[in-house]
Assembly symmetry: D2
Homo-oligomer: 119 residues x 4
């Protein structure tokens, strides 16, 4: 028998995504597979997994981990994704993806608009 | 000269997406193109455009409007998407997409989990 | 010198809140302090702290932990909040708040609307 | 008879709120009533009503419109809220609230953190 999830479960599992990413990814030269690798990275980081593996990322996609690694390399090469050193509370170093380069492109891609609407 | 968007503009343009959609679309038999047509419908409806055209949907995707129409038909046939009659305040009828069939699949796709965590 | 947060930091720290909660809390008999205790519980649970203490909840409010405990008791008595047993992967029991009773009130509080708009 | 809202309706009515606003409003000198006036402005602007009236804002709060006007004046005086001229597509001028001053305070309020976690 199918059982629906509770409101509590539904409401605690929402991810905020910038609308500008959804409307400008093709202008930035990204396709749907690349966009979804980015959205999955954003999803894992939202759950504080800052460096999801290709296996983790590919596990809910139609591509396999090898293809996913290729996409990740391409995103780094094209300047959408950085890999950074991160230090935890115990001074241990680990790696983390940063989508900051992507967000800077997304948020500077808008045309000069005369409106002061959301100033 | 590039100019970054204001916080106000960034914060007013976020879209909430169910994490369960992102983690279960392949299990439901959807690929990345189909998922993005769905996300774009959700985006337009969030802005109260309840029946975006194939042209509108395809305008920020890598596919063209003809391909987009094909995806829409397939989503209807597979039982993810409904087209419904909607009446506005002036008793005028118009059509609207409903993603309700998709959400019912997404939110009943979870395995029996013993945890009562989000009950 | 002030330094602004990065887009990455801003985007990873958004909380989705039901608009219906914001528009119906007074109809449900809640005031702004009670609403914010609820929103803070939702915020902690979103970060997987399922049972924030009154001290944690009050730490970013104008009320102290004693007043916060009083609000929590009132929310339980009025049937907005439950305390449930939760079992983790190691079969250890712990307690968790559930806002499910609140969400059921929020999502059944709508008047009969003739429109089929978001059916 | 009570009838629950559809998933579609629930999912189309989520508002993204910055977690940093929720954790820093008291440090910024705001109380819960003031915070909720801000959140309601954000909610109306999200629906593209850029200049909600005190009556609209107060309609889902415990305060009345007179008290709401007082809060709005205070928010302007304290430098959290601006009133700006906005031009629409027909070159008509109208007024709009801008929460940009608030967001700049919220996003510069963080202590110097050595971690590069979300850089």
């Amino acid at each position: 028998m199918k059982k629906l999830q509770t409101f509590q479960h539904i409401l605690l599992n929402q991810l905020s995504i910038p609308i500008q990413l959804l409307t400008s990814y093709t202008k930035l030269g990204l396709n749907e597979i690349e966009l979804l690798v980015i959205i999955h990275i954003h999803r894992f980081q939202n759950e504080r997994n800052m460096f999801p593996t290709p296996t983790e990322l590919a596990s809910s996609m139609t591509i396999d981990e090898k293809e996913c690694s290729k996409v990740l390399r391409k995103l780094v090469q094209k300047g959408f994704l950085n890999i950074e050193q991160m230090e935890n509370d115990l001074q241990q170093l680990s790696e983390a993806y940063s989508l900051q380069p992507l967000w800077e492109k997304v948020y500077s891609e808008v045309e000069e608009e005369p409106e002061q609407l959301e100033g």
